[in-house]
């Protein structure tokens, strides 16, 4: 940490190797951080802006999980659902999530709805694909063992297939959450009053590289923190995994 800080200072203000208009030095960045923390920047303080973004990410993620995991499970369980839905997936997957922005705005206007829709589109696919793979890869011997000990199909699903798919589902959740954060800024470009995307956009217009850096690092830290939360949840829910 200190080494990085030292290197950063040396390269920027120390020997002037990097033009301060291209990359901010530590002092400028510290000032930008102070500015956004207390008076605020682009219409809000850092906490307000970060919360506005986190709220969108969590909403989009929640919608993606509650739709993607059941759909993936259905595709994993039923050949029919799989052959029906797979072609649609093949067609929709190559379309970048950002390409949906115009349509999202036409459909839902400039409110949160459009942003959540774009985040959902990006986050939905990893949920579906990984749940699908996990459920399809269910250990058939375990399914047979459950059946011969008297389990009905619902119990087989809840106590054998889903727990077995849980590690894959969590892989999907992690990828999905990352997709939420990476599309966030783009989604906020749809037009927003608050949010880290708004901060980035304003800082870009103000040619304020220090503020851009502050916003980017904040996105990175929030993304890492939420990923940690998912990992903790996984450890709690899969205690049998070493």
């Amino acid at each position: 940490m200190l080494v990085v800080l030292g290197l950063w200072w040396t390269l920027t203000s120390g020997c002037g190797l990097i033009d301060p208009n291209r990359f901010p030095d530590p002092a400028e960045t510290w000032a930008a951080l102070q500015q956004i923390l207390t008076p605020g920047y682009a219409g809000g303080t850092l906490v307000q802006q970060a919360w506005a973004s986190t709220r969108l990410v969590l909403l989009g993620f929640a919608v993606a999980v509650t739709t993607g995991v059941p759909l993936g499970a259905l595709m994993g369980l039923s050949r029919r659902a799989e052959s029906l839905l797979n072609p649609a997936f093949l067609l929709l997957r190559p379309i970048p999530p950002l390409a949906w922005i115009p349509l999202a705005v036409v459909w839902l206007g400039l409110g949160d709805g459009a942003k959540i829709l774009v985040i959902w589109i990006a986050a939905f696919v990893p949920c579906v694909i990984n749940t699908w793979t996990g459920v399809r890869g269910a250990d058939l011997t375990l399914v047979a063992a459950a059946r011969v000990h008297g389990a009905d199909p619902v119990r087989v699903l809840l106590e054998v297939i889903l727990p077995g798919a849980l590690p894959m589902i969590f892989t999907g959740l992690r990828l999905s959450l990352q997709a939420c954060w990476t599309t966030l800024v783009a989604a906020e470009l749809v037009g927003t009053l608050y949010g880290l995307g708004r901060v980035l956009d304003s800082a870009y217009r103000d040619v304020n590289p220090a503020m851009i850096l502050v916003a980017m690092v904040t996105v990175g830290l929030l993304g890492a923190a939420t990923t940690r939360l998912i990992a903790a949840l996984e450890r709690g829910l899969t205690p049998w995994q070493v």
């Binding site: 250990d139 011997t141 375990l142 047979a144 063992a145 459950a146 059946r147 011969v148 000990h149 008297g150 389990a151 009905d152 119990r155 106590e159 054998v160 727990p163 077995g164 849980l166 899969t238 205690p239 049998w240 070493v242």
Partner: protein
């Protein structure tokens, strides 16, 4: 206690290319109530298919399987299966694994606890009750699987090479345990194995299958010798050194070797 009857049972699989592959042909076999029957045969003789049909996991293409006089159409609480690779639920503790079948039957909490505690004690698993299967040795895991099957008190136990994945030492211990268990809690047992010694040591009768297609080759009666020499109450190494044991083992080896040798 129920018996198992195979009446003219055949099984044909269709391969991807559409060709028919006969796995079992015209099997007539009755396992009497409380009888322990072992099935040996070369690989590809349909041993496991025979067991899966009795379990209701596969359906015969010809003939029918009856357990206690009732035609088998699917899995049922009167039959439990012990699998070669244990097939324990990795996300359930030992206690939860053993209780699984009872929970499926809707048994009360109290009844589950009583049964689980009993089998934990019987199988020497007391200290492992709250561990996960991955924290246990292979032998311990198979004890849990046996306990899980015994706990639902089935009439019929179907065992598919249950000790095949264990090392030689553990295997001998488990064979002795199974003899002890079947003395305490007799069940009708169909036991699949490829180990001739194991079959002779455990079974009342040993069924030898021929392959290509799988069919009944011979049935060797062990029961009278076992009873006359009181095998069940003697340690395994002592039994395996008896002349009668080696004689039966050699006889079965010959029968099996004839199967494997080409041209027969």
């Amino acid at each position: 206690m129920k018996d198992i009857r195979f009446d003219g049972v055949g099984k044909t699989f269709t391969t991807r290319g559409g060709a028919a592959c006969v796995v079992l042909h015209d099997i007539d076999l009755t396992v009497q109530a409380r009888e322990f029957v072992a099935v040996v045969g070369p690989s590809g003789s349909g041993k496991t298919t025979l067991l899966r049909m009795a379990a209701g996991l596969d359906q015969p293409s010809a003939g029918e399987v009856r357990v206690g006089g009732r035609r088998v159409t699917g899995p049922g609480p009167d039959r439990a299966v012990v699998f070669q690779h244990f097939a324990l639920f990795p996300w359930k503790t030992v206690r939860q694994n053993i209780a699984f079948g009872l929970r499926c039957q809707g048994a009360s909490r109290a009844r589950q606890t009583v049964a689980v505690d009993r089998y934990l004690a019987l199988m020497g698993l007391d200290d492992a009750a709250d561990r996960y299967p991955s924290q246990l040795s292979g032998g311990m895991q198979q004890r849990v699987a046996l306990a899980r099957s015994y706990a639902i008190e089935p009439d019929v136990l179907l065992m598919d090479e249950p000790f095949g994945a264990l090392d030689a030492q553990t295997r001998t211990v488990m064979q002795e345990e199974l003899i002890r268990l079947s003395r305490q809690e007799p069940r009708t047992v169909l036991f699949i194995t490829h180990a001739v010694e194991e079959a002779v040591y455990l079974a009342d009768r040993v069924v030898v299958l021929a392959h290509d297609p799988g069919r009944l080759r011979e049935i060797v009666d062990i029961g009278p010798t076992r009873a006359a020499e009181a095998w069940n109450t003697r340690p395994i190494h002592e039994v395996m050194e008896l002349p009668s044991f080696t004689h039966l083992r050699t006889r079965l080896w010959r029968l099996l070797r004839d199967q494997i040798r080409p041209g027969n």
